[in-house]
Amino acid sequence: MLRRILFIAANTFRETIRNKILYAILAFALFVIGMTFFLADLSVGDFARIIADVGLASIHIFGVIMAVFLGINLISNEVDRKTIYILLSKPVRRFEFIFGKTLGLSVTLLLTTLAMATVLFLVHLSYRYGGRAEVGIFIASAGIYMELVLLTCLASLFSTFTTSVLSAIFTLSLFLVGHLTDYLYVLGEQSKVAAVRWGSVFLFYLLPNLENFNWKNEVVYGGLKSFSILGWAAGYLAAYAACVLCLSCLLFARKDFK
């Protein structure tokens, strides 16, 4: 079973790295991150902080674009192009297909995030006014990567039952809501209506809390030095992603291909 998942993952990885659009997005992302070197010159104040701030935001935005763009097509392309017919007629179970596809894309996102983080790290290191080796860039990028993996799982969930366009809308909506769930909780606490309080708590736990992966401010203000913070976030990712993938597998298990 594991071997088949790995073979599908390897093929998905090969599919994504042979996708020219991925390279176009990555090249533009690296260009923008590289340009923070000059952006800092134009700003007033803590130059290195500007580099980290804008650079991490760029990694985040371009990472989300890659995850959503590739994630929504992960399953639906296979169904639309009917390549899934041959794959599923082999001794491959449907859940192995879902897990393999998600794993393959996660590896691609790992490499692209690592490339962007490395460029940002080098820009930060080589900046002439107060440049330093900021290991926090990699820690914050690890958080961004975990968020991208979760978004990939959500995109693949949506692509099991709806079109690419709707999958993109749903995933981007959850991306936005996922960064605002703390406010939802606070909103519920302030309400005097029990139903609203319970409803907000329910939604708080149901929706993905993407702020669990957000340590950009800590890096910018120099407060993040230890990789130990990754543990809790990794646990949250594992639990949430497992639930999303299981739901995907359930929806996909009895899907008819017309």
Partner: protein, 320 residues
């Protein structure tokens, strides 16, 4: 080996798909019961929309029936990996990962079927040579023509040396040479002890290849049996080929209705309704100084049977 040698057993298979905004069920298969025995070549016939591809998808777990049971090798179709290893499937107009080469795609198929690298390489080389794609092994699939895709589809279906081969329209998109090669491959599979179940619109191929045929129309089975049983022994007419071409008045004077024949180049082709007439006509034609080139009894072909069954079914469907 399975109970009573049945490789595929389909009982009461019913399937409908929701259509339109209100998702009203549209029945594509209705109470289909049929089977395929070991080492048979079985043709699955029917016009477009008859339910052939749906049945084949159900056999390959790509769709699920509303009712009925499908048993492969004596076990339920959902039994999964072990059963899948014994089946080779080629979908209609197969699509592949365009970013892979033909060789890379077969390697992926071999990996998914649990084959060793050495086995995959040797089987791939043999099969690519067999389907005429050896030189395109390292060419990206996006550069393949429709016929090449069809050939690659056949190669991937046979890669893991399956006992049962299910082919959905294997001849479509192939040139006459390609069709002949596929016919040869199907015959070789039978000679190698395999079972082949394939759908096709090309009735001459089905007639030439199949031990048995199953005909579907509007989701229902309209005929099933051995080709020779369906065709029967009944003679449709006796075809006489004579020369020179006789004018209508000479034919009439010889007692042959002019509308019974037509000119074909320098020859005159006549269709006698039975043996007695054929003998009388032949004697008369010889008296008129004609040469008789051939005298052949023409029997029903699968095409006529197909048109009868499908046409009859369509008419009864319309009446009901």
């Amino acid at each position: 080996m399975t109970n009573s040698g049945r490789i595929i057993a389909i009982e009461g298979l019913t399937k409908s798909y929701p259509t339109g905004f209100w998702r009203i069920p549209f029945c594509v298969l209705s109470d289909l019961t049929c089977d395929v025995h070991e080492n048979e070549i079985v043709g699955f016939l029917g016009p477009n929309g008859a339910g052939k591809t749906t049945t084949i998808k159900i056999l390959n777990r790509l769709a699920f029936p509303d009712a009925g049971k499908v048993t492969l090798f004596g076990g339920q179709v959902r039994d999964g990996a072990d059963v899948r290893r014994r089946i080779g499937f080629m979908p209609e107009q197969p699509y592949f990962y365009e970013y892979l080469t033909g060789g890379e795609f077969l390697r992926l198929c071999g990996q998914l079927c649990g084959m060793s690298r050495a086995d995959t390489e040797s089987r791939s080389s043999k099969l690519l040579a067999r389907v005429g794609l050896s030189e395109s092994r390292d060419t990206a699939i996006r550069k393949y023509s429709k016929g090449m895709m069809q050939r690659l589809g056949l190669a991937q279906a046979l890669l893991h040396d399956p006992e049962l081969v299910i082919l959905d329209e294997p001849m479509s998109g192939l040139d006459p040479m390609g069709r002949m090669e596929v016919r040869g491959i199907i015959r070789d599979l039978k000679a190698g002890g395999k079972t082949v179940f394939f759908s096709s619109h090309i009735l001459t191929d089905v007639e030439a290849l199949c031990d048995r045929v199953i005909m579907l129309h509007k989701g229902r089975k309209v005929a099933e049996g051995r080709v020779e049983e369906l065709i029967g022994t009944e003679t449709l007419y006796i075809e006489l080929v004579v020369s020179p071409i006789l004018p209508a008045d000479r034919l009439a004077s010889a007692g042959i209705p002019p509308e019974a024949g037509y000119a074909q180049g320098p020859l005159h082709v006549l269709r006698a309704p039975d043996n007695g007439q054929a003998n009388r006509w032949m004697a008369a034609l010889l008296r008129e100084g004609c040469s008789v080139h051939s005298c052949v009894p023409v029997k029903k072909r699968l095409e006529e049977i197909f048109m009868e069954r499908v046409g009859g079914s369509a008419a009864s469907g319309a009446a009901s």
